[in-house]
């Protein structure tokens, strides 16, 4: 779960695709159309003449400056995409009652869920994290059950645990449960207990 700017990723890919397709079409036009070579020589010669008219130094440094600006934009975009993967800390605040205020710390919620999940034989591994989507925190419970386990059974179990935790902490958690198949599930011995 992350906040990567997906629209931006696709927009950049789209722009690059357009440039590549444009260059491809240009090369095909030069190779196939009669007079293509002449047009190419004229246009490119004109471009070369324009660069030379600027003078060697200004054209050179101008090009370097343009490249640097473009590179900075690209680096900013790439690092934003990677930074989007950061995870928000698990936060939980307590509920106040007559007896006082109970505060449940971050680690407790995740440890409680993890331990409860670890007790189940059909769940091989679990990972609890928190993410922030649209400035709202979402609890992410990722579980890898043993192969051949019903996903409904797993979801029901996790759902109950999350509901119990919410009751305990007095905080309604927005939870996202993902059930994975992985190498670990494939390699582990099948659960062949008779129910």
């Amino acid at each position: 779960m992350n906040a990567t700017r997906r629209g931006l990723n696709r927009f950049i890919l789209f722009l690059v695709a357009l440039v590549l397709l444009g260059l491809g079409a240009l090369a095909l036009a030069v190779g196939l159309l009669p007079g293509g070579t002449d047009t190419w020589t004229t246009v490119m010669g004109g471009f070369q003449g324009w660069l030379e008219s600027l003078g060697r130094d200004s054209a050179g440094w101008g090009a370097v400056a343009a490249f640097v600006v473009l590179a900075i934009i690209l680096i900013v975009i790439a690092s934003a995409a990677v930074r989007g993967r950061r995870q928000a800390p698990l936060q939980s605040t307590g509920s106040a009652s007559d007896a006082g205020r109970i505060t449940v710390t971050d680690g407790f919620a995740s440890e409680a869920l993890k331990n409860a999940l670890a007790e189940r034989d059909e769940i091989l591994s679990s990972r609890i994290s928190a993410g922030e989507i649209k400035n709202e925190s979402v609890l992410h419970v990722a579980v890898t059950p043993r192969q051949n386990t019903s996903p409904r059974q797993v979801a029901e179990h996790v759902d109950t645990l999350v509901t119990n935790l919410a009751a305990l902490t007095g905080q309604n958690l927005r939870a996202y449960i993902s059930i994975h198949s992985g190498l670990r599930a494939k390699l582990a011995r099948d659960n062949t207990r008779v129910h």
Binding site: R6, N9, L20, L26, A71, I75, V138
Partner: protein
């Protein structure tokens, strides 16, 4: 599930973010830019070029149609167009991951297709008595394919198998919905 935040989460978790493709493209662009900038700076400071000086490169570009065969342009154009198409597909296709959303009240639940497949196979095996190893289940985006290979001489009630599969798949409440196909494969009994 009506929560818009969870809707966003499910949408994100079932579709590829295309971050890897974007990073590959950006890194290649950066390398090309860095190389060009280095050649220009070397030329401006009067040092030896790494491969070609910018002026020579520009001359070569201008003279390319006369120096090269038209075939070179056609081949180059086709290669560029294919690369462009690949990137365009990456940009526009939804990039669905092999997962399904499972309808679950107020919680968002996403299941890998592999989990659904193995659970369905196990359920069918339990209900029908056919060995688990004789059942192959494949779960795709909109279809579930079940292949049963019962041992020779064991009769199977296809309609009943179909009913078991349909009921179990319906119980999962997957989104997008899947159609089920069941096939009973008999080994060729006529020895040749």
């Amino acid at each position: 599930m009506t929560d818009t935040v969870l809707r966003t989460v499910v949408r994100r978790e079932t579709h590829s973010p295309r971050t890897v493709a974007m990073l590959v493209v950006v890194v290649l662009l950066l390398l090309a830019l860095a190389y060009a900038a280095v050649e220009i700076i070397l030329n401006l400071t009067g040092a030896q070029p790494l491969l070609v000086s910018p002026g020579e490169a520009l001359n070569a570009v201008v003279a390319a149609p006369t120096a090269l065969m038209p075939v070179a342009f056609i081949v180059g154009g086709v290669v560029l167009a294919i690369l462009g198409l690949v990137v365009l597909v990456l940009a526009l296709k939804p990039g669905r991951l092999s997962r399904h959303e499972m309808e679950w009240g107020e919680r968002a639940v996403v299941v890998d297709n592999g989990v659904v497949a193995s659970a369905l196979a196990q359920h069918l095996s339990n209900e029908s008595g056919i060995a688990r190893d004789d059942i192959v289940v494949g779960v795709a985006h909109r279809a579930v394919d079940v292949t049963v290979r019962p041992p020779v001489g064991i009769p199977v009630d296809e309609a009943q198998l179909r009913r078991i599969v349909d009921e179990e798949v319906a119980a999962y409440k997957l989104t997008p919905a899947v159609r089920t196909h069941l096939r009973v494969e008999r080994p060729d009994t006529k020895e040749s």
